[in-house]
């Protein structure tokens, strides 16, 4: 059996769902970052797969962009996370509700 586009897309979907559930369910900020990374990478997989399938490099270009942005996001996010942890000694999402309306 040859591994085709559909397999990549199914993998991407499964990863996306895992990421989405992680985003919704996780209460730990660090875990949330992981979930976000999974989301982004699932998209990266589909970008790369479709790009290859179409023979068009734009998708892979985009995947690189996403990786770069994800990296910077994690960098900034982790920085803030550490700051928050220093101040409040936890990184539980439920304790962060200063924006309550």
């Amino acid at each position: 059996m040859e591994i085709g586009l559909n397999h990549y897309l199914v993998l991407s979907t499964i990863l996306f769902s895992i990421g989405l559930i992680g985003v919704m369910r996780r209460k730990n900020l660090l875990m949330l970052f992981f979930a976000t990374e999974i989301l982004l990478n699932s998209v990266n997989i589909s970008f790369a797969a479709i790009s290859h399938y179409n023979g068009d490099l734009t998708g892979q270009m985009f995947a690189f962009f996403v990786i770069a942005i994800a990296a910077s996001e994690v960098a900034v996010g982790l920085g803030l996370l550490i700051l928050w942890h220093k101040r409040h000694n936890n990184i539980d999402l439920d304790s962060m509700s200063t924006m309550r309306g």
Binding site: L20, R26, L93, M96, S97, T98, M99, R100, G101
Partner: protein, 641 residues
């Protein structure tokens, strides 16, 4: 001559304004004398105009200034003195001069003496506008003006609840009719393009009968209100709450006859629509009988005379409806004299009896009030239509008109009413002036009115006696503008039978009334006698329960519906739904603020839910667009291809 026209018209206004200057001040005799003098001036000017019209046979027409002008509409303040209006002017100025002078005495103890004359003269001014105007809009000014003054004068003693109630009733009833009048005016304007009498009447023969019929009906509705015809009659009896001079001037001699004047004025219209005329005559005959029947049992002196007025107005409408306009106008004139006299006499009696109105509590007053006794008796004889007094020439003529035109039902109704008229008039006279002196039981010490009041009344007395003399002169004058139908019964035998028969009938009624009500057995009724318990008596003394019906089925429901509209519909439906919309926005915000818990996790969940929602919407729309053109066009309209 134009100068006299303006003097006749504006002298009462000047008098009214003069009196009004003093209206907030305590009684000042001059506030009564000046308006009376100015009215006399107006009377003189009217007389000069009468002589002029009589001699030259021409009319005077002036246009003072523009009132309303827009588009095609042009309404001036125009006045015309012709044979018809000059007759009315004479009646109005004469009776009002007499009433003014009389009122100086009658109102002398009233603290609002000055205000009374301001209103009374204002009334005369409005009445003069009404009769002198040369167009329907001007007529309407006077029409509403007399209604306003009547309101002010009925409610003159405004501390009395009954008086102010009656004033409002009169005004509102008249307003109902005025709507009809207004619609009539609109009809005339849109069909003839003008409101000037002469131009409008000239254009009318070319119009369709339907349109003319509606015009006639609506104008007559207006006349019904002012002349208190059934079913808008209840206000007239209640209007007796006003001071007696007011009843004499407004609710007997002048204002209530405005409806008849309108029909006479619009005779070219009503000549074209005999069917409406017949209806008017039938209603007139009905009202004559209807009102006379209520007068039979009433125990309020002024109300009896008021019903008698109503009954006589019915006669006038009967004549006018049958096309005998000049007869109607003649009866209007004669009636003004003797009815005003009757009312003023009743005013004297009221003063003597300390405002007691029940004739059963009087009796035997002829000894102390000789002058008043003579005047009221003469007025009643004239009203009954006994030869050779005024009523004979005018009222019997109406009977003849009905007879000659072969309207035998109307004739017999009117004839029967004539007998009733004689009966209730002399029932009143007998109860007041003859028989036992029952007033002594109530400890009243009656006295005759001031001499000058009796002198003031004397012109009316004279005219009530001799008005018939002027019949031919009058006939020749007014028939220059009104249809000159002479009413003669062809066969002399029939004529004499009818005339003498009528006289005998009336005489018998008078005799019976005298016999019944001068007897010593007359007591103040206490509601125990068999007659008072009978259904007929109750029906009549409660005015056929019509005021009760109006109160229960019109006035009260109106109040209830109004309250319902306000509390239920306006507040609970309309306003509540407006507030509901506002609340819906507010509540949406209030309920959804929970979403902004500030918890990142919850927000993320909402974000996911939103994304899923949007995506599924996109799918649904995509599918729908593929299968339906309607959705596709909407999507393209909002920019989605």
């Amino acid at each position: 001559m134009e100068m006299f026209l303006y003097i006749a018209l504006f002298a009462p206004l000047v008098g009214s304004m003069f009196a009004a200057l003093f209206s907030a001040k305590p009684k000042t005799l001059i506030a009564g004398i000046i308006p009376s003098a100015l009215l006399f001036v107006s009377f003189i000017a009217s007389s000069i105009l009468l002589v002029y019209v009589l001699q030259t046979g021409s009319s005077i027409h002036v246009e003072m200034m523009t009132w309303m002008a827009t588009g095609e509409l042009y309404i001036p303040f125009g006045f015309v003195v012709d044979q018809v209006s000059v007759t009315m002017m004479m009646v109005v100025t004469l009776v009002s001069t007499v009433v003014h002078v009389y009122a100086i005495g009658y109102m002398s103890h009233d603290k609002s003496f000055n205000r009374f004359f301001a209103w009374l003269s204002a009334f005369v001014f409005s009445m003069m506008i009404l009769v002198m105007s040369d167009n329907f809009a001007g007529l309407f000014i006077g029409w509403e003006g007399v209604g306003l003054c009547s309101w002010g004068l009925i409610g003159f003693w405004y501390h009395k609840e009954s008086a102010t109630w009656a004033a409002n009733e009169a005004f509102i009833m008249n307003r109902i009719a005025d709507l009809g009048m207004l619609i009539g005016i609109f009809l005339i304007y849109w069909n003839t393009g003008t409101l000037q009498y002469d131009e409008a009447f000239a254009a009318m023969p070319a119009l369709e009968t339907d349109v003319l019929t509606w015009m006639g009906i609506f104008l007559f509705i207006g006349a019904m209100g002012k002349s208190a015809q059934f079913p808008l009659h209840t206000w007239l009896a209640d209007a007796m709450e006003g001071p007696t001079p007011v009843s004499a001037l407004i609710h007997a001699a002048t204002m209530v006859t405005a409806g008849v004047y309108l029909i006479v004025r619009a005779s070219p219209l009503y000549d074209l629509i005999p069917n409406v005329g017949l209806f008017i005559a039938s209603l007139g005959a009905f009202v004559a009988l209807f009102a006379a029947s209520m007068a039979l049992v009433n125990r309020d002196m002024k109300r009896i005379i008021a019903y008698s007025t109503l009954s006589q107005l019915g006669y006038m409408f009967a004549a006018a409806g049958l096309g005998a306009y000049w007869v109607a106008l003649f009866h209007l004139m004669a009636h003004a004299f003797f009815k005003a006299l009757l009312f003023l006499g009743a005013g004297n009696v009221m003063h003597a009896m300390k405002d007691e109105l029940d004739p059963f509590k009087m009796g035997g007053l002829k000894k102390v009030m000789k002058g008043t006794f003579i005047m009221m008796t003469v007025a009643s004889v004239a009203l009954a239509g006994i030869f050779p007094l005024a009523g004979f020439f005018s009222k019997d003529l109406i009977l003849e008109v009905a007879f000659i035109d072969n309207h035998y039902i109307i004739y017999s109704v009117l004839l029967f009413t004539a007998a009733l008229t004689a009966f209730y008039s002399f029932r009143l006279v007998a109860l007041i002036f003859h028989g036992e002196e029952r007033y002594k039981l109530f400890g009243i010490d009656p006295h005759e009115a001031y001499k000058f009041m009796l002198v003031a009344m004397s012109p009316l007395l004279l005219l009530a006696v001799i008005a018939g003399v002027f019949k031919m002169t009058y006939f020749e004058m007014v028939t220059q503008v009104l249809p000159a139908t002479e009413y003669h019964i062809d066969s002399p035998i029939v004529y004499w039978i009818i005339t003498i028969g009528t006289q005998l009938l009336v005489g018998a009624a008078i005799f019976y009334a005298y016999k019944k009500y001068t007897s010593r057995d007359i007591k103040v009724p206490d509601g125990t006698s068999a007659m008072e318990k009978s259904f007929g008596y109750k029906l009549l003394s409660n005015q056929y329960y019509i005021p009760y019906i109006y109160e229960e089925f019109v006035a009260k429901p109106y109040g209830k519906i109004s309250a319902f509209f306000w509390s239920e519909i306006d507040q609970k439906i309309i306003d509540a739904s407006v507030d509901g919309i506002a609340k819906a926005f507010y509540n949406t915000g209030e309920n959804t603020r929970e979403m902004h818990s500030g918890n990142l996790s919850t927000m993320l969940k909402w974000m996911v839910a939103g994304t899923v929602g949007m995506l599924s919407l996109a799918v649904v729309f995509g599918l729908a667009a593929r299968h339906s053109d309607g959705v596709a066009s909407i999507l393209s309209a909002i920019g989605v291809k």
